[in-house]
Symmetry: C2
Subunit: 240 residues, 2 copies
């Protein structure tokens, strides 16, 4: 049975895909209604009738990105034969996905809205949760690797997952800087080249905890707040 009323004159899915690519390229705030409607080939009332609001459109765009825009980066992780191959495949797929011709470089979820006060706060939270979801996917596969005896019993799977997710997030910025596929694959290879050390338990004690005398004169600068950063309270002068 058909719908009542005048039928929609545009392809909703196609318009959504166009919107997704624009949000992907420009971020949530960076994509204006004028640009969106132009890219989607429709006028504002059609957009609002079909999607509700800019924010609702963005959420649908995010869902579409997860479903079809990320090239299945995460799909192979749970079913990879080993944790190592899971992470390796994940990073390789990332390098390829972030440099596909015809779509914006980098990850829509990693780059979508990184500044506080930006977007609708709810969108920032949504993106953050989706990033956390990715870490969880990695973590679960790593934990299975421990159960399988592939990884050492004391491996900190949450920390390992966080590390590789961090590498992947950095690859988004690398891609935005114009790095080509080979450059991203090189990063992926190097991340995997460190695998044995990364998955080893307590890398802090095992590898990197020599007292390490800070060679910089005034070595506490990294913890102190330099003068221009200290002032916090309002020093406003002569109220209006």
């Amino acid at each position: 049975m058909k719908e009542k009323g005048r039928p929609r004159a545009f392809d909703r899915d196609a318009a959504l895909a166009r919107a997704m690519k624009l949000f992907w390229a420009r971020g949530y705030e960076g994509a204006s209604l004028a640009e969106l409607t132009a890219a989607m080939g429709i006028r504002p009332p059609s957009l609002y009738a079909a999607f509700g609001s800019k924010e609702a459109l963005y959420r649908e765009a995010l869902d579409l990105y997860v479903a079809e825009g990320d090239a299945g980066i995460w799909d192979a992780i749970p079913i990879a034969p080993t944790a190592r191959e899971a992470v390796d495949g994940f990073l390789r797929a990332t390098a390829i996905a972030f440099t596909r011709p015809g779509v914006p470089p980098g990850c829509m979820i990693a780059l979508g809205a990184l500044h506080e006060g930006e977007a609708s706060e709810a969108i920032c939270r949504d993106l953050k949760e989706r990033r956390a979801w990715g870490v969880g996917v990695l973590k679960e596969r790593l934990e299975r690797g421990v159960k399988d005896g592939e990884l050492p019993a004391g491996a900190d799977c949450a920390a390992i997952a966080s590390f590789y997710a961090t590498v992947q997030h950095g690859m988004s910025i690398l891609a935005r800087d114009g790095a080509d596929r080979e450059a991203l694959l090189a990063v992926a290879r190097r991340a995997m080249a460190g695998w044995e050390g990364v998955v080893a338990p307590s890398p802090s004690i095992q590898e990197t905890n020599r007292p390490s005398p800070n060679p910089l004169p005034g070595g506490e600068r990294a913890t102190d707040l330099p003068s221009p950063l200290r002032g916090e309270g309002g020093t406003r002068k002569a109220g209006g």
Copy 2:
């Protein structure tokens, strides 16, 4: 000798520091003139008289960030006794700097303007160049490590530098997600735990190049463009 005319009634350096922190927290486009003037305690004409424009203010804010806002993350790299300690100190300093109380989490340069079409294009380029500068600092220290015999002769210093810079960029996003200092230090430790593998020549051949049968059915998804992403040309209907 004093200046002619009415003297400035506000502390230019303090106002710039306030502007820097707001740009740092919100990004270039995310910081509005209204917010900036409120944070700086001045009115728009004073801002334009003292700094010229929002863009010029941002450039000065960037310079201030590099001079005093990044907690000297890069300063120790050239003078560290070994390349390994240089990178280790760099990542540790990053973890500390990105989680300092009182300043926004993450890096102003990494997060400042990541979307195309955003900002003034020139600012995107400026930030990109500053990121490339950081990679260069790492690369030069690594090359000295090769000369010193600390690193293997065939080490690809540019690729190693790119890898660790990528990790650092990812740490900005991790910090924006609210990760605490210990979480960032854990990432830094794991990045260093993989050091031996990362700096080894040709990690692709040595470690990670087994044929790796893609376990995902339809394994080419990562290279194909799924249907919603294919349409590129304008299919606009019934022009206005």
